[in-house]
């Protein structure tokens, strides 16, 4: 669906992206990750035919962005980081305008608008003036405009930006619902927000692609799946000594001690949860909780972009 080869974009002397190359297959949901200013939005603007590249080749669904941008525009839906909505219009009027702008035949416009509203759960807001909607609904209207003409490719630039936790979950569900019908490229700098949605990730920093793959592939590449957290009931010293004997454990930290209630952090480069639980149970230590550290992808991301162990 997307082939990017040696893409560079300069703003004057400043290179926003340089030598970017990647491919995205049809039907994939790909996360585009990077810190603010990494070049995510610029790349998405080039793919959305909003900006033209300084150099490099970008092919979307067989068409070149420089030579045949019009053909690409018919096939994509683009949601910029700020939803491109007109406050004075009602949701229905706006989506009708966008559908016609994107070439939906007059006879199919009403159906297309109703379907886009249904998919983004804004049907009840059809008559409402956009200027009166909450941020979450405005973001959904932005998403609805991107998919009203049933594009093959959806380009979503930070669709969860500025949403509250409940709205983020709702938006994630909406994006999940698009899987299968569209190829989706979704960017974010907050990884937890899209970690449950994407099949694969592209990580960009300083305008260059620094890693790509599934969450597991990225994790393996770094050789760490993040620390394991254990809550158990037992004597601190013997329990720590016991766990140190398990093959593969590189370090153990006592995070919290409350009488016999222990919270431990175990650093290991491989999956050791079964072995750790087995060792604890055999030593009659009551296990309350065993888990990988939260925000696993976040840790991977921070390591990739900063070399930090989060």
């Amino acid at each position: 669906m997307i082939q990017v080869d040696g893409l560079s974009k300069f703003y004057g002397e400043h290179a926003a992206i340089r030598g970017l190359s990647f491919n995205i297959q049809s039907g994939e949901v790909v996360g585009f990750l990077g810190l603010n200013g990494a070049g995510k939005s610029t790349t998405l603007k080039v793919l959305g035919c909003v900006l033209l590249p300084t150099s490099g080749r970008v092919i979307v669904d067989g068409f070149d962005v420089t030579r045949e941008p019009h053909e690409i525009r018919k096939r994509i839906g683009y949601l910029p980081d700020t939803p491109p909505i007109y406050d004075e219009m009602s949701v229905g009027e706006y989506l009708t305008f966008v559908a016609r702008l994107r070439g939906v035949p007059q006879a199919n416009v009403a159906g297309a608008v109703a379907e886009a509203e249904r998919k983004t759960a804004i049907s009840e807001k059809h008559e409402d003036v956009i200027g009166t909607l909450s941020h979450g609904y405005r973001q959904r209207v932005g998403l609805a405009q991107a998919l009203v003409h049933k594009p093959k490719l959806l380009i979503l630039d930070e669709p969860t930006g500025g949403l509250d936790p409940v709205q983020i979950v709702e938006m994630r569900e909406v994006i999940k619902g698009l899987k299968g019908e569209h190829t989706v490229l979704v960017s974010s700098h907050i990884l937890g927000e899209i970690s449950q949605v994407c099949d694969r990730y592209l990580v960009i920093q300083g305008g260059e692609l620094i890693a790509q793959g599934t969450e597991a592939e990225l994790s393996d590449k770094l050789g760490s799946g993040g620390p394991i957290e254990i809550d158990c009931i037992g004597a601190a010293g013997p329990t720590i000594e016991l766990l140190k004997k398990v093959d593969g454990v590189s370090d153990i930290t006592l995070v919290k001690l409350d009488g016999q209630n222990l919270s431990l952090r175990v650093d290991a480069k491989t999956e050791l949860r079964p072995a750790l639980v087995k060792a604890l149970v055999q030593a009659n230590v009551a296990v309350v909780r065993v888990d990988r550290a939260a925000h696993r992808l976040e840790n991977i991301f921070l390591k990739l972009t900063h070399g930090k162990d989060a």
Binding site: Y11, K45, G48, C49, V50, L51, L52, H70, R73, K74, I76, Y78, P80, D81, T82, P83, P84, I85, Y86, E88, M89, E93, F97, V98, R100, L101, R102, G103, Q145
Partner: protein, 240 residues
């Protein structure tokens, strides 16, 4: 053409739903009425045609100012709010965006010209007015309005700030008005060329009831040139 119509309809809807458009028209009508009362009908006895010519004279200047205020938001606001990205990522040409916005603004400006209709009507009640003179004057007003809107649209395409767009467009319009001052200090043949650039010399016949093709062509050329320039600016922004 379908896309031009789509853009024009949305843009006209934006004018009709926002208070600012009405405020601009109300202020223009107020100023035009004041000018008509203070200068056109006051003073020594005049022929109806002279009163009418004075009315068109004031209305052309006020219409030009109105065109600058109405056009300042056309592209600048879209860039400011980010909605220009919707247009850029849709399968429409930049020239269709420019044409649609221009036609909507022209239609809205024509509401102002329609609103001034009571003044020629008053002249007709108290004097004798030829319909040809009125139509010629209004044709001139629409042409001045169209060229000013096109210049305003070009100014609006240059910046995100509506204020800067209005100031820039005003400078361009004043430049076209003040050409005769420059013409005074240069030698022939530049005198004729620069004098020919000044819009007022081309409007003068219209206000007196005379329609000449060369003056229509002048306003059409200024309008098309400014719209072309605005289109090129939009295209160039994709490379930045």
């Amino acid at each position: 053409m379908n896309n031009v119509w789509l853009i024009a309809r949305r843009e006209l809807g934006a004018y009709l739903r926002n208070l600012s458009g009405y405020v601009i028209i109300a202020v223009l009508l107020f100023l035009d009425g004041l000018a008509f009362n203070a200068f056109a009908v006051q003073g020594a006895a005049k022929k109806s045609s002279e009163v009418l010519a004075d009315f068109f004279f004031f209305t052309s200047g006020i219409g030009m100012a109105g065109a600058i205020f109405l056009s300042m938001r056309l592209i600048a606001e879209e860039r400011q709010t980010g909605t220009v990205q919707l247009l850029y990522s849709s399968p429409i040409h930049d020239r269709e965006i420019v044409a649609g916005k221009f036609l909507a603004a022209l239609a809205f400006l024509c509401l102002f010209f329609l609103g001034t209709g009571y003044m020629p009507a008053l002249v007709a009640v108290y004097g004798k007015v030829s319909l040809g003179h009125v139509l010629s004057g209004y044709l001139g007003l629409v042409l001045v309005g169209a060229s000013s809107l096109a210049i305003g649209l070009f100014g609006s395409s240059l910046t995100k700030s509506q204020v800067v767009a209005a100031v820039g467009s005003a400078v361009m319009c004043i430049g076209l008005t003040m050409c005769w001052l420059v013409a005074k200090v240069v030698d022939r043949p530049f005198t004729d060329v620069i004098t020919g650039l000044a819009w007022y010399g081309h409007f003068d016949p219209f206000k007196n009831g005379i329609v000449h093709l060369k003056h229509v062509v002048y306003f059409a050329l200024v309008t098309l040139f400014a719209l072309f320039a605005a289109t090129r600016v939009l295209e160039a922004r994709r490379w930045r």
